[in-house]
């Protein structure tokens, strides 16, 4: 498995047959973006899981820091009025 150490890591997102958006399904190693798409097809769609694949090199993702959890997320906790749950949505609007 020495080869995989030399290939960069890619994060894989798949849009399912009935899904509405791409979802993160896992990661894999590949030499370049095209190779990553093919590997994702072989690793993550062999049970007919999807109809569209996105890959992004893991190193290109900027992530929030877990240590910022308090200032980042706590202020939103007690603001229930931001949830649009106080409105009646007509059935024919469909999925929001």
């Amino acid at each position: 498995m020495s080869t995989s150490k030399e290939w960069p890591l890619w994060e894989v997102f798949i849009r399912g047959q009935h899904g509405m958006s791409h979802r993160h399904v896992g990661s894999l190693h590949a030499a370049d973006a095209d190779h990553a798409i093919k590997n994702a097809r072989d690793v993550y769609t062999r049970r007919n899981e999807g109809v569209s694949i996105w890959v992004v090199e893991a190193a290109r993702i900027t992530a929030s820091s877990p240590s910022d959890k308090g200032p980042m997320y706590d202020p939103a906790r007690d603001k229930v009025y931001r949830h649009p749950t106080f409105y009646d949505i007509p059935d024919d609007v469909g999925k929001m």
Partner: protein, 250 residues
């Protein structure tokens, strides 16, 4: 032998033998991703085998099944190309062989989609989608490894040189082929030559590999007359369970 039966055995045996060789990589490929990709390819080919040999068994009408044909025939009953039975050797040769075969399979299956035999056309249409992906993957890998490091280039050139004398058998028409052409079941394999030559030349150029000179071609696989010494060893492994426990199922 009925020419349609012989034709279907060739189709099925090519898929079976290459499928088994490819499955030998399961758990042993150089990277996890390649391991799964090779297992997928092997499963595609075994799936195609079931369809071709299933139809072959019906055409034969001797009460045999696809499993009987796969697991209870001996070396000289097999009708696969010699190129597909030689050992994998290394990842490079495995992928080079896959490419040389895929580059034939895609135009071949495309032509079979217009077969006068409805079942042949249906099996070809299903197999073509898989073969198209196999070709996409194998050609890119051949290019990546050929145009890779000094070592990978040397191995790919070695693989091409080794396999080259086996490629001619794909295009050597015989009575079975002529009977199939006359019946509108299949084109002549030699009709695929020009397209194969072009795609192989382009890919090898991109892969920084040199096409070997000389057109000597081994033969004897498609006719069953002269297989290599390797097929018997492969079948011994592949068939051991059905040979030891005839009729075993699970």
């Amino acid at each position: 032998m009925d020419p349609l039966f012989a034709f279907l055995l060739r189709q099925g045996d090519n898929a079976l033998v290459l499928g088994h060789r490819t499955s030998e990589w399961c758990g042993a490929a150089p990277a996890l991703e390649e391991d799964i990709a090779l297992a997928n390819t092997a499963l595609d080919l075994i799936g195609q085998t079931q369809l071709w040999l299933g139809y072959a068994a019906e055409v034969e009408g001797a009460g045999r099944s696809a499993n009987d044909l796969a697991f209870l025939r001996d070396v000289y009953d097999f009708r696969n190309l010699l190129m597909l039975e030689v050992p994998n050797q290394d990842f490079g040769r495995t992928l080079m062989r896959q490419f040389l075969f895929d580059a034939f399979q895609v135009p071949w299956l495309t032509a079979l989609c217009a077969s006068s035999d409805q079942r042949v056309a249906e099996i070809a249409a299903k197999s073509l989608k898989e073969a198209t992906y196999h070709l996409d993957r194998s050609s890119e890998t051949v290019i990546a490894l050929g145009d890779g490091t000094e070592d990978s280039n040397r191995r790919m050139q070695g693989a091409l040189d080794y396999l080259w004398p086996y490629t001619g058998e794909m295009f050597a028409d015989d009575e079975v082929d002529r009977a199939m052409q006359a019946a509108g079941v299949a084109p002549l394999p030699s009709d695929m030559r020009e397209r194969w030559d072009t795609s192989v030349r382009e890919t090898m150029q991109a892969a920084c590999l040199t096409l070997p000179e000389g057109d000597f071609a081994h033969s004897g696989g498609r006719s069953g007359v002269r297989h290599t010494e390797h097929l018997g060893h492969m079948l011994a492994t592949m068939q051991v369970l059905q040979r030891s426990y005839p009729g075993a199922s699970w």
